[in-house]
């Protein structure tokens, strides 16, 4: 069953001045548990597509159905709540909260979701163990390496068991070993927790590991390859 579906998704920037078509009539569908890379050259619309799927930007036209609910019709407050409850985000620059420890960063989304303290603590420890940071629970981001920070970011995104996770170039700032470690972890969590993962990336290492690769060129879908692994 499709978790996410886009129908005729179009985004035009500067519509009234110099229109720039970032996405053009994109029709895509993502099933539960997919591990997808969105690839394409710079300016092809990868980030725009991710922003649309994450409810961070509104399309100029078209629909985005998440669990059959059109999120383009939601008001800002509803969208905020929707993001909180259903979507996990991993950013290129980790973007952890610098004043919180690893376990606090991971607990953060769940605290906003108002889960019980006990449950939050248990889940945060569990997922940090899974990403190999069980011994760095109380380390602040500044005390962690880039790879470790990105693993905390992944743990934060996955901790609340969202419907899907959007990762914008998550390995771009990592060395090869850290990138492979991160991909191993994400693949494992994808398999174990059946969470849908969608990456935008230039990174060949990520593309090779993806089970589906969608290629965007000039805002349109130029390829959609599904692989058996």
């Amino acid at each position: 069953m499709a978790v996410i579906e886009t129908i005729g998704l179009t985004k035009i920037y500067n519509e009234t001045i110099v229109p720039v078509k970032a996405l053009h009539e994109v029709d895509l569908s993502f099933d539960q548990g997919e591990f997808t890379s969105i690839v394409g050259p710079s300016g092809s619309g990868k980030t725009t597509l991710l922003n649309m799927l994450g409810g961070l930007d509104k399309p100029s036209s078209g629909q985005i159905l998440i669990n059959r609910k059109d999120i383009t019709t939601l008001k800002e407050r509803q969208l905020t709540n929707f993001r909180l409850q259903h979507i996990g985000f991993v950013f290129q620059s980790y973007n952890l909260i610098p004043v919180l420890t690893a376990i606090e960063n991971v607990s953060f989304i769940m605290l906003l979701q108002k889960h019980s303290r006990k449950k939050i603590d248990q889940r945060a420890r569990e997922i940090l163990e899974q990403v190999g940071l069980g011994d760095r629970l109380n380390a602040r981001p500044s005390q962690l390496s880039g790879g470790q920070q990105q693993r905390v970011a992944v743990a934060r995104a996955l901790a609340s068991r969202p419907d899907f996770v959007l990762a914008d170039e998550p390995t771009a700032n990592l060395d090869t070993q850290s990138a492979f470690n991160l991909l191993d972890i994400m693949e494992k969590l994808n398999r174990e927790e059946n969470i849908t993962l969608i990456f935008s990336t230039h990174d060949q290492r990520v593309i090779e590991r993806a089970r589906r690769v969608i290629t965007l060129v000039d805002g349109a879908v130029a390829g959609d390859e599904k692989r058996q692994q």
Partner: protein, 407 residues
């Protein structure tokens, strides 16, 4: 909520130096404002106390016609009904009966208009320590038929202790009031206009001179709590029939003093407002920098599902925290300074004495030490902070998430 408060607190210490510098600006401004406020309040209190104690008292009970026509004909009976009302009121510290009238004083060489003040010296002492003002001769007993002259008047009349003075005036209801009285002592009154014309006489002798036994021109009432003067006056007003009596507070009897205090306070407040301005800009500068530095972080927090209200609260609480640290440190730091200054007021040199004497004051700069001085500074600085704290709140509510996250 706990999470948001924790975040706000920890955010403060991300840039320790900046937080400490901002809190320090609040700290110093609070201390300076405390000192300025304490000086203004202290000097005003001293001025009020000196003027009030030597002239009108804090509250006066008079005959209803006396204020408009201050004649001895409008002296009222100080009988048991009045005494009972005074005794029954627990907010009254003490009462001071007076019989006052203008008269003509004459010696064999000169004649001058004077103010004769018939007093109960025990009560008068409580109000203005009359006995401490004696510079020559001795004080009067209740039964004495003699007078004390103010120093300035004695000089003008060229009189000394042991001389006699003739007093002539109009007595109660058409009687004549005249007599010759020995000068038993000389007192120095710090208010120049009184020092040049005041004569003290025992109350009983004064009443007898005017033929107004048991009558008073004014009953001065001192409240237990001086800050509650207006409230007590109001209370007493309700107890007396306005047809026969009037209860006046010193503010009603000396409106010019009140006006000059207000004017003086306004100029003093100008300095304090400038300090508030410094505090305000100090905090605003920090808040602006903080907002600019953390655009991206705010964008990310909003992206992952934090509500704008929650983020706004964090930024607001951070601003309040900085201010609270500065205010608390300022109050704690200011307390010992004010305590010291309260007990060791600044003393001015001889050249300033004349100026202070015009207001009936000692040539010192007293410092007030009451909770209002502290609470008013804390409240004002917190209010400024709350207003400045609205800036990040507005910014967060208007923030474009994508633009902020890309910053």
């Amino acid at each position: 909520m706990k999470l948001l408060i924790t975040l706000a607190w920890r955010n403060l210490w991300r840039n320790k130096r900046r937080t400490l510098i901002t809190a320090s600006s609040v700290f110093f401004a609070v201390i300076l404002a405390l000192i300025a406020e304490s000086m203004i309040k202290g000097s005003h209190e001293a001025m009020i106390n000196n003027m009030v104690k030597l002239s009108t008292g804090y509250i006066q009970l008079q005959d209803s016609l006396y204020e408009d026509e201050p004649s001895v004909d409008h002296a009222f009976m100080f009988d048991n009904s009045v005494k009972q009302i005074m005794q029954q009121n627990s907010h009254i510290a003490y009462i001071v009966p007076r019989f006052e009238s203008y008269m003509l004083a004459a010696t064999d060489q000169a004649t001058r208009p004077v103010m004769l003040r018939g007093v109960d010296f025990e009560a008068e002492n409580l109000l203005n320590a009359t006995s401490h003002k004696l510079i020559a001769g001795s004080l009067l007993d209740k039964t004495d038929q003699s007078v004390l002259l103010a120093e300035g008047l004695a000089q003008r009349l060229k009189m000394q202790v042991g001389d006699s003075i003739i007093l002539v005036g109009q007595g109660f209801r058409g009687m004549s009031a005249a007599g010759i009285f020995p000068v038993k002592g000389i007192v120095k009154i710090s208010l120049p206009r009184l020092n040049d014309r005041l004569i003290y006489m025992p109350l009983a002798a004064t009443q007898q001179l005017f033929g107004a036994e048991e009558r008073l021109t004014a009953l001065l009432i001192t409240p237990q709590d001086l800050t509650q003067t207006d409230k007590l006056a109001q209370e007493l007003r309700a107890k007396f029939d306005p047809k026969w009596f009037k209860v006046l507070s010193w503010k009603q009897m000396m409106p010019s003093l009140l006006q000059s205090l207000k004017l003086d306070r306004a100029s003093g407040m100008l300095i304090i407002y400038m300090l508030y301005l410094v505090v305000g800009f100090g905090i605003l500068g920090t808040v602006l920098t903080m907002m600019l530095e953390r655009q991206r972080e705010f964008g990310i927090l909003l992206s992952v599902g934090m509500k704008r209200g929650q983020l706004a609260l964090i930024t607001f609480v951070e601003t309040v925290f900085i201010s609270l640290i500065g205010v608390a440190a300022g109050l704690i730091g200011g307390l010992p300074i004010l305590v010291y200054m309260h007990h060791h007021p600044i003393r001015f040199g001889k050249e300033m004495e004349a100026m202070f004497e015009a207001y009936g004051m000692e040539a010192v700069m007293p410092f007030a030490l009451d909770t209002e001085v502290f609470s008013s500074q804390a409240i004002v600085v917190l209010l400024i902070t709350l207003i400045i704290g609205l800036y990040p709140v507005l910014k967060v509510f208007r923030m474009n998430i994508l633009k902020a996250a890309r910053n």
